[in-house]
Amino acid sequence: MISLYRWNFCEGKACGEAAGDYTDRVWSRAENVSNFMEADSIFGPDSRLVYKHYATLYFVFVFDSSENELAMLDLIQVFVETLDKCFRNVCELDIVFNYSKLHTILDEIIFGGQVLETSSAEVMKVVEEISRQESASNSIGLVTKTVSGWRNR
C-alpha cells in the first residue's frame, strides 16, 4: 500500500491517522457503487470525500460545499491524465519514486485549496519548465562541485 497525503488546510498527524482510517473504508467499498463518502466526522462539517481507482491506484480527494461533486471526479481524471502524460502510462512505481514531481503537478492543479488549473496540457507545460530549470541548475551545480572538489584535494 502506498499513500501520499497532501493537506491543504489540515494539521499534522491527526489527519494522517484519519486518512488511514478512510483508506480502509475506501478499500472495502464494493465495485460499481457511487464514489462519494461522507467525511465530516474527521475533516470537519460538510466535507465529503470522493475516490476513484485505476487498476491498483486509488485517488482520494476531500472537498467541501464550495465544490461540485462531479467536477471533483473530473478533477481526479485531470490529475491522472496529467500523470499519464508525465510518466507515459503511470504506474505504482512512478508515483513511489517521483515524490517531488507529484507535488509539482498537484501544486499546479490545486493552489491554496482551490482548483486553479483544469487543463492537463497547461499543467504539463509548467511541469516541463520546472524540470528544465532543475536540470539546468543541477548541471551548473555539478560543474562547480567538481571544480571545488578538485581544488579541495
Binding site: S34, F36, S66
Partner: protein
C-alpha cells in the same frame, strides 16, 4: 566529501520498500544520517538531507519541526532544485506558530520579485499554504503588484493567494480588492476569470451579503462564460446571493434554467439543479424543470448520478414534497440498492414522505426491511424511524397504542442497538400520554417476561424503562404477581446494577400494590362488597400473598449485602417493609382467628406506602427556573468578589444578612402556590407534605406566574390533561395549518381518523431555545467590514491604508458617484424589499430593508450581528454608507 556517500531519496525509497518488518529501525537509521548530513555546509548535501526528511515526514509522519531553520537556508540557495526542496519542506511542515517563520519574509519577497517565473510560483505557493498575519501583511504589496503581471500563470496564482491574504490580514482588502474585481472582467483570459471566481466563491460562502453589490459582474459571467468550471462557481455564488435579494433571484432564474436544459455536462447540470432547489425554490416553473432533470439522473446507470439525483430530491423535499412523491416507487426500490449512499439517501427521502396518514404503513415496511438488513443499516433505519416519529413531540403519531407496540417490536429486532433512544421514548410517552399507559404497561410486561432478552446488553436500557413503567403504572397490570415474578427472576443478575436497582424499586411498588388491593378486598369481604371483583381481577389470594413474601425473601434477601449501594439500599427498604408487615399480615391471612385491630394497622401501613407511590409527579418545564421573576432588590449579576473581603472580617454576620434578605423578599410570592399545595399536602403522604412545607418555608416554586396563567394552571394541575388540550391547540394553530397545507399534496389520505389522537402533554413548546441564538456568528467580521468599506466607498479608511502602503489610490471619486446613484435607488425601493421579505420570512432581508431606518429595532432583533452593531456605532445613522446598495442589474 559527504555528498559522495550520501544516500539519495531514491535509495531511501528503495530501502523502505525492501524492509519487511524492521521499518521503524530503518527509518530511525535514516533519520540519524539526515541529522548529520543536514548540518553540512554543502548546499547539495543539505538539500538532499532535507528532501529525505520531508519524504519521511509525509509518509511516516516523522517530526521535522527541528529542521525548520535548515529549510529556510535551503530556500535562500540560488540553485533552483535546492530552493524547490526547501519550499516543499516549508509548505509541508511550517505552521503559523513555527518560531522561525518570520525569517522567510525577506526571501519570499525576493523570490516574488524574481524574473524566473517558476521561482515566483514557488514563493506564491508557499505563501498560500503557510501565510500568517505577519507574512501576509508584509507581502501584500508584492502580491498586489503580481496581480497585474503580464505572465498569466503568475497572475493566476497571485489571485489565488489573495484568499489567504484576506483571511489572515483583512486590511489587504483595501489594497487588493479593486484589482480583484477588475480581474473579473478579464474575459480575454479564462484562467484568470476561473481563479478570481474561485476566490469570490470562497469569500461569498462565508459572508454573502457583502458581495451583493458585485451581482452585475457575476451575472455577466453567468450569461457569457462557456467554461463549466467557472459556471459552477458562479452558480455557487448565486446560491448564496439569491436568498438575500428576491429581485436577483427573479433575474437569474431564466439563464440558469436555460443553462440547465442546454448543457451537456452533468456536473454543470447538477449544479443548476441544486441552485434552483436551494435558492430559487419559490419559482415553481423552474423547480418543475429541475424535477424533470432529476428524473433523468435517477434512471441513469451511473450510481453517482442516481445518488446525486436522490440527494437533489432530499434538498427539494421540505418545500416541494410532490417532487419526491412523483418518484415514490423509485425511492422505495432504492432502499435495497447495493450502494450504501443510495440506500441512505432513499431512507432519508422515505422519512420525508412520512405523514400522519401513512406513518403506520411506512414504518411497517421499514421495520420489516430492517430485520432483513445488515446490522449497520438496520440501526440506521431504526434510528430514523425513532427520530421521525418523535419529532416535535410525536407530532405525526395518532395511534399511540400502535407506536408503543412498534417500539416493543423494534426492541426485539436482533441487531437493535437503539436501546437508549427507545428507553427515553418509552418513558417520555408514558409521562406525556396518559391514555396509552395500559398499552405501555402491556408492552413493558411482555419485554420483562422474556428471560432471553436479559442476556442482550443492548436491551438493558429498554428493560429498565419497561420495569419503571410497570412499577409506576402498576394499576394497569392484569397479573401483578406474574410481574413480580419476572422482576425478581434469577436471570436479572445479568443486568447492570443501575438497571437492577430500577427493577427492585418496581418490585417494591408492585408488592405494595398487591398488598393494598388484597387488604382492601379482605376488608371489603368483612364490610363492603365491592372488593371481591378486585381479587379475581388481580389473582390475589392469601396464598399468592404468601408466595410473594417468600419470593421476596428468597430473591431480595441476598441483595441486602450487595456491593452496589443503590441495590443494597433498595433491597433493604423492601426487606424492612416485609419484616414490618409480616406479623400484622399473618393474622389477616388466617381470618379464622380474627383480630380486627391488627388488620387495620396493616392496611394503614400499606395504604400509606401505596398513596406515596400512586401520587403522581407533575412535569416541570425545562425553563421553569428562568420563569421565576427575580425579586426586587436581588441583584443576580453582582460581582461577588467584594464579598470575600467582607467575609474575611465578619463572616457570620454577613452570611446571616444575605440569607435573611433572600427569604424575606420571596415571601410575597407564596400566595401563588395555593393550587400547588392543595395537590401536594395530602395528609397521607408524608414526603410530599414535607416537600410542600419546605417550599412554603423557602418560597421556592417551579412554575409561576401571574403573567401566563394559562400555562400556570395547566402545569400545576397536572394531570387534568383535557384542560391542556385547548392551550396546546391554540399555540400550535400556525403549525397545524402548515402541516395541513403540506398534507394536501399527498395523494392518498384517509378521509376519517378511526381513533382520536390522545392528548400529548407538552411543556417544552415555550422552552425551545430561540433559534436566533443558534445561528453562527459571522466569524470574519473584520473581513466583511473591510470588503464593505471598499465596495461602498468608505474611502477615508481605504485611502489611509493605501497612502501608508504608498500604492495606487482607489478611484474614490468614481466610487462616490456610484454610491450616490445606488443610494437614490435603494431609497425608492426600500419598502417593497421590506414587505416581500417579511412575507417570505427571511430575516436577513428584513434586516437589509430596515438597515438605515431603524437602528434600535435592528439591534434588538439581531443579537448575533455583532459587527453590524459595531458598525452602527462607528458610523452615525445619518451616514448612509452602511446601507447595502442595490445593484443596477436589479432594476
Amino acid at each position: 566529501m559527504d555528498s559522495l556517500f550520501q544516500r539519495s531519496l531514491d535509495d531511501i525509497i528503495k530501502g523502505l520498500r525492501h524492509q519487511q518488518a524492521g521499518e521503524s529501525a530503518f527509518v530511525s537509521k535514516v533519520l540519524e544520517e539526515v541529522r548529520r548530513e543536514i548540518k553540512s555546509t554543502d548546499s547539495h548535501t543539505k538539500s538532499t538531507a532535507l528532501q529525505k526528511l520531508t519524504y519521511l515526514h509525509s509518509i511516516c509522519f516523522v517530526d521535522m519541526s527541528w529542521a525548520a531553520f535548515h529549510a529556510i537556508e535551503c530556500i535562500s540557495y540560488p540553485n533552483f532544485t535546492h530552493k524547490k526542496v526547501g519550499y516543499l519542506a516549508i509548505s509541508q511542515s511550517f505552521q503559523e506558530s513555527t518560531p522561525v517563520i518570520l525569517l522567510i519574509s525577506n526571501q519570499l519577497r525576493k523570490d516574488l520579485k524574481s524574473n524566473v517565473e517558476v521561482e515566483v510560483s514557488l514563493a506564491l505557493e508557499c505563501l498560500s499554504r503557510i501565510g500568517n498575519l505577519d507574512l501576509c501583511r508584509d507581502l501584500t504589496p508584492e502580491v498586489f503588484t503580481l496581480m497585474a503581471s503580464s505572465r498569466i500563470p503568475v497572475r493566476k496564482k497571485a489571485i489565488g493567494v489573495v484568499l489567504r491574504l484576506f483571511g489572515k490580514y483583512p486590511d489587504a482588502v483595501r489594497v487588493c480588492f479593486k484589482r480583484l474585481v477588475e480581474s473579473l472582467e478579464s474575459s480575454d483570459s479564462p484562467p484568470i476569470v476561473s481563479a478570481v471566481i474561485g476566490v469570490f466563491c470562497e469569500l461569498a460562502s462565508k459572508d454573502p451579503k457583502a458581495y451583493l453589490p458585485l451581482a452585475p459582474e457575476f451575472y455577466k459571467i453567468l450569461v457569457d462564460s462557456r467554461n463549466n468550471w467557472v459556471l459552477i462557481k458562479v452558480l455557487k455564488i448565486f446560491t448564496k446571493l439569491a436568498p438575500l435579494e428576491p429581485r436577483l433571484a427573479k433575474k437569474i432564474v431564466e439563464p440558469i434554467c436555460e443553462l440547465m436544459s442546454k448543457t451537456g455536462a452533468k456536473s454543470l447540470m447538477f449544479e443548476c439543479i441544486r441552485t434552483i432547489l436551494t435558492s430559487l425554490a419559490e419559482h415553481e416553473s423552474a423547480v418543475k424543470l429541475a424535477a424533470g432533470r432529476i428524473n433523468e439522473l435517477l434512471i441513469d446507470e451511473d450510481p453517482n448520478l442516481r445518488y446525486l439525483g436522490l440527494h437533489a430530491l432530499a434538498i427539494v423535499a421540505p418545500k416541494h414534497i410532490w417532487a419526491v412523491l412523483e418518484n415514490k416507487e423509485f425511492v422505495i426500490k432504492s432502499l435495497s440498492d447495493p450502494d450504501p449512499n443510495i440506500k441512505l439517501e432513499s431512507l432519508r427521502l422515505v422519512m420525508e414522505m412520512v405523514s400522519e396518514s401513512n406513518v403506520v404503513e411506512i414504518c411497517r415496511v421499514l421495520v420489516n426491511y430492517a430485520t432483513k438488513s445488515e446490522p449497520e443499516f438496520c440501526n440506521v433505519i431504526l434510528g430514523s424511524i425513532l427520530s421521525t416519529c418523535s419529532n416535535n413531540v410525536y407530532e405525526i403519531i395518532v395511534d399511540f397504542d400502535w407506536y408503543v407496540s412498534l417500539l416493543g417490536e423494534m426492541s426485539r429486532i436482533q441487531h437493535c442497538q437503539k436501546g437508549e433512544e427507545i428507553e427515553n421514548q418509552l418513558i417520555d410517552i408514558g409521562m406525556r400520554v396518559q391514555d396509552v399507559r395500559p398499552e405501555l404497561v402491556r408492552v413493558g410486561r411482555d419485554l420483562l417476561m422474556d428471560p432471553a432478552l436479559l442476556g442482550n446488553p443492548f436491551l438493558h436500557r429498554i428493560l429498565s424503562a419497561a420495569a419503571w413503567l410497570c412499577g409506576e403504572y402498576v394499576e394497569f397490570i392484569r397479573n401483578p404477581v406474574e410481574l413480580m415474578e419476572s422482576l425478581l427472576q434469577p436471570r436479572t443478575s445479568l443486568l447492570p446494577p443501575s438497571v437492577r436497582a430500577v427493577y427492585l424499586e418496581s418490585a417494591f411498588k408492585a408488592l405494595v400494590f398487591c398488598l393494598h388491593s388484597y387488604l382492601k378486598s379482605a376488608h371489603g369481604e368483612n364490610g363492603e362488597a365491592s372488593g371481591t371483583t378486585l381479587i379475581q381481577e388481580n389473582h390475589i389470594t392469601p396464598d399468592s400473598v404468601l408466595h410473594l413474601l417468600n419470593l421476596i425473601d428468597m430473591a431480595v434477601g441476598p441483595l441486602s449485602g450487595s456491593y452496589d449501594v443503590e441495590i443494597q439500599e433498595r433491597a433493604r427498604n423492601i426487606l424492612g417493609f416485609t419484616e414490618l408487615i409480616k406479623p400484622v399480615l399473618s393474622d389477616s391471612l388466617h381470618p379464622q382467628d380474627e383480630r380486627h385491630k391488627q388488620q387495620v394497622e396493616a392496611s394503614k401501613m400499606v395504604r400509606l406506602l401505596h398513596d406515596t407511590f400512586s401520587d403522581e409527579l407533575g412535569p416541570v418545564s425545562m425553563s421553569a427556573q428562568g420563569r421565576v421573576p427575580v425579586p426586587d432588590g436581588l441583584v443576580l449579576h453582582e460581582n461577588l468578589a467584594d464579598l470575600e473581603a467582607v467575609c474575611g472580617s465578619s463572616l457570620p454576620a454577613s452570611s446571616a444578612t444575605i440569607s435573611f434578605e433572600g427569604s424575606h423578599n420571596v415571601e410575597g410570592a407564596t400566595s401563588i402556590f395555593i393550587s400547588d399545595q392543595k395537590e401536594e399536602s395530602e395528609p397521607s403522604s408524608e414526603s410530599t407534605s414535607l416537600l410542600a412545607e419546605h417550599r412554603k418555608r423557602h418560597g421556592l416554586y417551579y412554575l409561576p406566574s401571574e403573567k401566563n396563567t394559562e400555562h400556570h394552571e395547566a402545569n400545576n394541575d397536572y394531570p387534568p390533561a383535557n384542560e391542556l388540550k385547548s392551550g396546546v391547540t391554540v399555540s400550535n394553530d400556525a403549525q397545524d395549518l402548515a402541516k395541513l397545507a403540506e398534507q394536501s399534496f399527498l395523494p392518498k389520505r384517509k378521509s376519517k381518523q378511526v381513533k382520536a389522537r390522545p392528548v400529548v402533554v407538552k411543556l417544552d413548546e415555550g422552552d425551545v431555545l430561540p433559534i436566533s441564538s443558534k445561528i453562527p456568528q459571522a466569524k470574519d467580521d473584520s473581513l466583511s467590514e473591510a470588503v464593505r468599506d471598499v465596495l461602498l466607498g468608505n474611502k477615508a479608511a481605504a485611502d489611509s491604508v493605501i497612502r501608508k502602503k504608498g500604492k495606487e489610490k482607489l478611484n474614490a471619486k468614481e466610487q462616490e458617484d456610484d454610491l450616490d446613484h445606488m443610494d437614490s435607488q435603494s431609497g425608492t425601493v426600500q419598502n417593497p424589499v421590506k414587505e416581500r421579505s417579511k412575507r417570505s420570512s427571511r430575516k436577513q432581508n428584513a434586516d437589509e430593508g430596515d438597515h438605515g431606518g431603524d437602528k434600535g429595532k435592528q439591534k434588538r432583533r439581531h443579537r448575533h450581528g455583532k459587527h453590524r452593531t459595531r458598525e452602527g456605532v462607528q458610523n452615525p445613522p445619518a451616514n448612509v454608507i452602511s446601507q447595502t446598495p442595490v445593484p443596477d442589474l436589479l432594476l
